[in-house]
């Protein structure tokens, strides 16, 4: 299970990084989303992988799943969702304004700026 989980995180991260390096807004945003999925899974795993353990600390149970990573993941999901929404809106604004969806700066024409 650990191997499968770790590979899942790894593949998501690799795919996310590849897409982020594409430098057009749509792939970059998809890539960033994949990265946030990867990190959410990673946070889950930071409380150790258990199956069927009760989720909260209670009397008389020795084996329980760590509740904290779940709270962390919940926060992380909310935040990354909000951030992704913001970047979609800003990127859309930039695309509609400049009619160009490249993330990097356009080539400047040097001659104009020289003093």
């Amino acid at each position: 299970m650990e191997f499968l989980f770790a590979s899942g995180v790894g593949v998501l991260t690799a795919a996310g990084l590849y897409l982020v390096l594409r430098l057009r807004t749509f792939p970059v945003i998809i890539g960033a989303s994949l990265l946030t999925y990867a990190v959410n899974l990673f946070l889950f795993a930071s409380g150790r992988l258990t199956i069927g353990a009760p989720p909260v600390l209670m009397d008389g149970v020795t084996r329980y799943s760590d509740p904290l990573p779940q709270a962390l993941v919940l926060t992380a999901i909310v935040i990354s969702f909000g951030m992704t929404a913001v970047v979609v809106v800003i990127a859309l604004g930039a695309y509609l304004g400049a009619d160009d969806d490249h993330v990097n700066d356009p080539q400047e024409s040097d001659s104009e700026d020289r003093a």
């Binding site: 982020v20 807004t25 970059v28 945003i29 960033a32 990265l35 946030t36 990867a38 990190v39 959410n40 990673f42 946070l43 795993a45 930071s46 409380g47 150790r48 199956i51 069927g52 353990a53 009760p54 989720p55 909260v56 209670m58 009397d59 008389g60 149970v61 084996r63 904290l68 990573p69 962390l72 926060t75 992380a76 935040i79 990354s80 909000g82 951030m83 992704t84 913001v86 970047v87 800003i90 990127a91 604004g93 930039a94 304004g97 400049a98 993330v103 990097n104 700066d105 700026d113 020289r114 003093a115």
Partner: protein, 553 residues
């Protein structure tokens, strides 16, 4: 337990919501509430700093839950100093934003401004790593809104880059937090300090990876050498008051490095030893040199100032990377100087932009601007401070850093980089200033009408597009410059205070005891909760216990 520690976080949050919901259509009311809120913050910040100045570490448990389970806010010398600095900067920058009308050019400036302050204050006060992440996100999401305030294609493009870069930074932060939690089982800084110490060096792979990841995250925020690429476009394209306020955001990264790496991963810790001397110092020096070369190479005044921010962050990180008490103390002195100088320069650049109208900020001679001598004088004072020439505080700060670097093995490289880059910065700033301010006058005198190009036609009307005297703006910039001068004049007492702060940072026992030894709410004596526990334990235990047994069967 005093509740005032949480006030710098709660007050802007409430005020932002109030401004957004109640007075958003009334610009003047928004301004009044915003200024009043920042002034209240200033008073609270001063009171907290005064309380912490005798060395007490006060702590606030949110919801009265004990650390490490609850979230704590901690006010010690360092965090209250940063809170006070933020409040001072926020007030002056807000006055500029109101005076120059920047807050009128888009929606919700004041609400976003307050949210931004909430995030910054929270990041300085929190004693919990995950909470630090949350406050980073609060300040970032507000900064996204402020960054693209007033719109425009270039600004939106720079905004996209800025948001994406920080989105990746946040992801990295979460990876670091996950790794730290997996290794230690806690995210409270004081608790972490105790537990990281207990990790044996042979089992330290995970925590070392986490320490480096965390350093990378803070390096992104602090724009340290290979991770600085987001800064020039963002700061140059952001509205001037926002860029001036962003001056404190790079310091949030520096603050986090100082805080985490003196307390949780101190330099004498065996597991992470060598991280700073080997990696951070060369990168900091590289950042210093790159920033100052950027100053020389920049073709626009706003980018020039943005590169000088990278240079000054490099200088700051150099002092931090020494990780000696003298180095940290010098770094703290430099933090205040660099924040004020950065803000002053960005505001002055905006005055120049307003004055030059069509000619913009490209480094070439154009018509002389209205109030030129005054603005030129302010620019040169701020530039002197930024490049670290005597007599202003940049010089004192640089001297302290040079002095702190004296005993270290890399002293020659460090000195060469600091002094060489200062020279480059001086050349860059004087070239920019001469072209922008002096050459313009020469051209007016020597050019005859038929040689004028389209850009210089405005010379015919030397009054320029700006007729009114920018009182509030000059008050704001003048205030920043006055603070810089005060920072120089009072260098003795300030340095002593920084030494005391550093001492507190290097003996984190007091901080750890203040956080860990205070009990939180006691549920066993709480009638309501005690009943709850009795009633709930049975049924929930049964319900949740079942799947486990089924699995095992």
């Amino acid at each position: 337990m005093t509740h005032w520690i949480v006030a710098p976080v709660v007050l802007p949050a409430m005020l932002a919501a109030f401004i957004l919901l109640v007075v958003r259509f009334h610009l003047n009311l928004s301004r009044v509430f915003s200024v009043a809120g920042v002034m209240a913050l200033l008073v609270i910040g001063a009171a907290l700093a005064w309380q912490a100045s005798d060395g007490t570490v006060s702590m606030y448990q949110l919801g009265n839950w004990a650390a490490p389970f609850g979230i704590v806010l901690v006010a010690d010398r360092l965090s209250t100093m940063m809170v006070l600095l933020t409040a001072v900067l926020a007030l002056l920058v807000l006055l500029y934003a109101i005076g120059s009308g920047w807050d009128r050019r888009g929606q919700h400036f004041h609400a976003l401004y307050q949210f931004q302050l909430m995030g910054i204050m929270g990041a300085f006060l929190t004693g919990d790593l995950f909470n630090l992440f949350v406050f980073f996100e609060v300040l970032l999401i507000a900064s996204y809104g402020l960054m693209i305030h007033a719109g425009g294609n270039d600004r939106l493009r720079a905004g996209t880059q800025y948001v994406l870069y920080n989105l990746l930074g946040s992801t990295l932060f979460l990876f670091a937090l996950g790794a730290i939690y997996a290794e230690t089982g806690t995210l409270n800084m004081a608790d972490l300090a105790n537990r990281v110490e207990m990790i044996a060096p042979e089992n330290s792979t995970g925590i070392r990876v986490a320490a480096v990841l965390l350093l990378l995250v803070f390096a992104i925020k602090a724009a340290i050498a290979p991770l600085h690429f987001w800064l020039p476009s963002s700061y140059a394209e952001a509205p001037a008051p926002v860029a001036a306020l962003f001056g404190i955001m790079t310091k949030v990264g520096a603050y986090a490095i100082i805080r985490i790496y003196t307390m949780v991963f101190p330099p004498d810790l065996e597991t992470t030893g060598g991280l700073y001397g080997m990696w951070l110092l060369p990168l900091a020096l590289a950042g210093l040199v790159i920033g100052m070369i950027g100053v020389l190479g920049a073709k626009r005044l706003d980018r020039l100032v943005a590169f000088s921010v990278i240079g000054s962050m490099g200088m700051l990180t150099t002092a931090v990377a020494l990780f000696t008490p003298a180095g940290i103390s010098a770094a703290l002195y430099y933090v205040i100087h660099s924040t004020l100088a950065t803000a002053a320069l960005f505001l002055i650049v905006d005055l120049v932009r307003t004055g030059r109208g069509q000619a913009g900020l490209a480094l070439r001679a154009a018509q002389p601007i209205a109030g030129g001598p005054m603005i030129a004088a302010l620019f040169f004072v701020a530039a002197i401070a930024m490049t670290g020439l005597p007599p202003l505080s940049g010089f004192v700060g640089k001297l302290l850093i040079l002095d702190a670097a004296f005993g270290t093995p890399l002293v020659w490289v460090t000195w060469a980089a600091i002094l060489g880059s200062s020279l480059i910065a001086v050349v860059g700033f004087s070239r920019a200033g001469s072209v922008m301010f002096w050459k313009s006058h020469q051209q007016r005198d020597t050019f005859s009408d038929d040689t004028l190009s389209g850009d210089q036609l405005g010379v015919a009307e030397p009054q320029g597009p700006k007729a009114r005297i920018p009182v509030l703006e000059l008050v704001s910039v003048g205030g920043l410059i006055t603070l810089l001068v005060l920072h120089t004049v009072l260098a003795g007492p300030v340095t002593r205070y920084m030494d005391a702060t550093t001492q507190q940072l290097f003996s984190p026992g007091q901080y750890i005891r203040a956080v860990m030894d205070v009990p939180g709410k006691d549920l066993s004596t709480d009638a309501y909760h005690a009943d709850d526990a009795k009633e709930d334990s049975g049924p929930i235990g049964d319900r949740l216990g079942e799947p486990v047994t089924e699995e095992e069967n």
